[in-house]
């Protein structure tokens, strides 16, 4: 899933304080799962905004809603009237949802309430971690299903740097596992360590962000 965390409240309030009629709009997919921008978080943020407005004598009507996904056009139909009535939308979706809401509701300002982080997983209660960097050419077959691009701080393809110590990365020895220790352990348990001896050539980064903004065109599906 795409993971995100809420922006500091004062930053959010600073963005929307001039609004007179604000729609706080949640997203029912990834950010609901990672507990950053679903229905529950919409309720809490809207209440906190109301309290702050009252304290600072700001007059602002706040409505709330959450749709299934903010990255698909069809789901916006359900809130079209509420968006029309509002002078701005505070989106609690990921960066994709915020931008797509802006595209769908032309002429409406859409503010981001979240900082989008990464493609990751909920590794245990309250902890999410990155798994994929979206490089566009998956190499997981070669590394026992552990991605060196996403999980090594330097995206090294030929083994660990000198900063791998006791399974941890030099960048943060408390919180970050050394991706290459994970690859090594996994390949060892699979009996495939010898495969890591092959020299990995230069990577073609053009299939990812370095090739410009990504776009998929499926000729078999295009109308």
């Amino acid at each position: 899933m795409i993971t995100a965390v809420q922006k500091p409240f004062n930053e959010i309030h600073g963005m929307v304080r001039e609004c007179r009629n604000l729609l706080v709009l949640g997203c029912g997919t990834c950010v609901t799962v990672c507990m950053a921008g679903g229905e529950k978080e919409v309720g809490i943020l809207a209440s906190t905004l109301r309290l702050a407005n009252r304290e600072q004598k700001i007059s602002m009507k706040i409505t709330e809603d959450t749709i299934e996904r903010q990255c698909d056009r069809e789901f916006f139909d359900a809130v079209r009237d509420k968006v029309e009535a509002a002078d701005a939308v505070l989106s609690m979706a990921c960066g994709v949802g915020v931008q797509f809401a802006s595209e769908v509701f032309e002429g409406k300002r859409v503010f981001p309430a979240l900082n989008t982080k990464f493609y990751g997983t909920n590794e245990s209660v309250g902890i999410w971690s990155e798994r994929c960097a979206g490089c566009g050419t998956c190499v997981l077959d070669k590394f026992g299903g552990v991605c060196p691009i996403a999980r090594c701080s330097k995206s090294l393809l030929n083994g660990p740097c000198g900063g791998s110590q006791n399974g941890k990365c030099e960048v943060d020895q408390e919180r970050i596992d050394c991706g290459w220790q994970l690859i090594y352990d996994r390949m060892k348990s699979l009996g495939l360590l010898h495969l890591l001896e092959a020299n990995e050539p230069l990577k073609d980064w053009s299939t990812g962000r370095d090739g410009g903004p990504g776009k998929i065109v499926r000729e078999d599906m295009v109308l």
């Binding site: 701080s153 660990p160 791998s164 110590q165 050539p201």
Partner: protein, 321 residues
């Protein structure tokens, strides 16, 4: 030097000639200034000239901005040193690095050391974006292809136009080796991959744990790697007991055994004891099969290098024919 050996030399650098002749090589390190001040280089170069065979010019080490390694290396060369230009993969992509390699070769710099590079979080620009377009092993191979295949990483020939001559950079290619990082069993695999990629010499991370280094060298010999790459053992003289403890506790990929820490703690003259330990280590390296030289990383202690080299019985340095 006979013509036979001459033609076998890949870059004809002084370091390459000394190693090819079978001498126990001595290299040191020179950190460029954190300013445009040439005097810093002059002072450090003055301590090292004639005392070592070549000097590594670091590339923004620990991610702190310093004068570029190529510029500082070119200046050091004018001052009589043979530089080993360090290039990390942190700050430049394959376009910038290949461009710099051409520039370095044009300036007469003949040794380049390929490094991954410390992460920017350790330096003074922690909010910057890193590059890591390639890793150090891929960089070795890019340099080898430039030198031996006379081609850029993209496959284009190194020439200014179809009718122009090919003028490739003649570079003696180095890399680092860390026998102390984890996973330990992968460390020798890393060296094997560097050899496959085309490395000519390696300098190790600074060694304190001699037993672990000897175990690593045993693995190196088991794979016959010592016959394919010249290995220079790295040392950093300890200046104080505090430094010894810091190296043990705070530097990733380094272990300092307790017996060295105890010696440093008990010594009256800490600096003298640090140098004594260093000299003992060098003497021990000379007896290890496959160790072709020593790399002395005397951090901001360049003025003590000559004393170490002399006491290790490695002066005068041989003339490289």
């Amino acid at each position: 030097m006979n013509t036979q050996l001459q033609t076998e030399l890949k870059a004809d650098s002084k370091l390459e000639r000394i190693l090819a002749a079978g001498h126990f090589a001595v290299t040191a390190e020179l950190g460029p200034p954190k300013s445009a001040d040439i005097e810093v280089i002059k002072t450090k170069a003055g301590h090292l000239t004639g005392k070592v065979d070549a000097v590594n010019i670091t590339d923004n080490q620990t991610a702190i901005v310093r004068m570029s390694s190529i510029a500082a290396g070119a200046l050091a060369m004018q001052m009589g040193l043979e530089p080993v230009i360090q290039i990390t993969c942190r700050d430049r992509n394959r376009i910038a690095i290949q461009s710099d390699v051409l520039g370095a070769a044009a300036l007469g710099l003949r040794n380049i050391l390929c490094l991954t590079g410390d992460h920017q979080c350790f330096g003074n620009h922690g909010t910057t974006k890193n590059v890591y377009d390639m890793d150090s092993i891929q960089l070795i191979n890019v340099l080898k292809c430039m030198r031996d295949d006379k081609k850029f990483a993209c496959g284009d020939e190194i020439r200014n136009g179809k009718k122009e001559p090919i003028v490739e950079p003649r570079i003696y290619i180095g890399a680092a080796a860390n026998p102390f990082g984890d996973p330990f069993e992968f460390r020798v695999i890393r060296l094997a991959k560097k050899v496959n990629a085309g490395v000519d010499f390696v300098q190790t991370q600074c060694i304190y744990d001699m037993e672990r280094f000897e175990e690593w060298m045993r693995q190196v010999r088991e794979r016959g790697l010592h016959e394919k790459v010249r290995i220079l053992a790295g040392v950093t003289p300890l200046k104080s007991a505090g430094m010894a403890r810091y190296m043990r506790d705070s530097v990733a990929g380094l272990s300092v055994p307790d017996y060295y820490i105890e010696r440093m703690e008990k010594a009256e003259d800490k600096a003298a004891e640090g140098i004594k330990i260093c000299v003992e280590q060098i003497e021990r390296f000379r007896d290890i099969e496959g160790v072709a030289g020593v790399h002395i990383m005397a951090i901001e202690w360049e003025h003590r290098v000559a004393e170490i080299v002399e006491r290790a019985g490695l002066l005068p340095r041989p003339e490289a024919a």
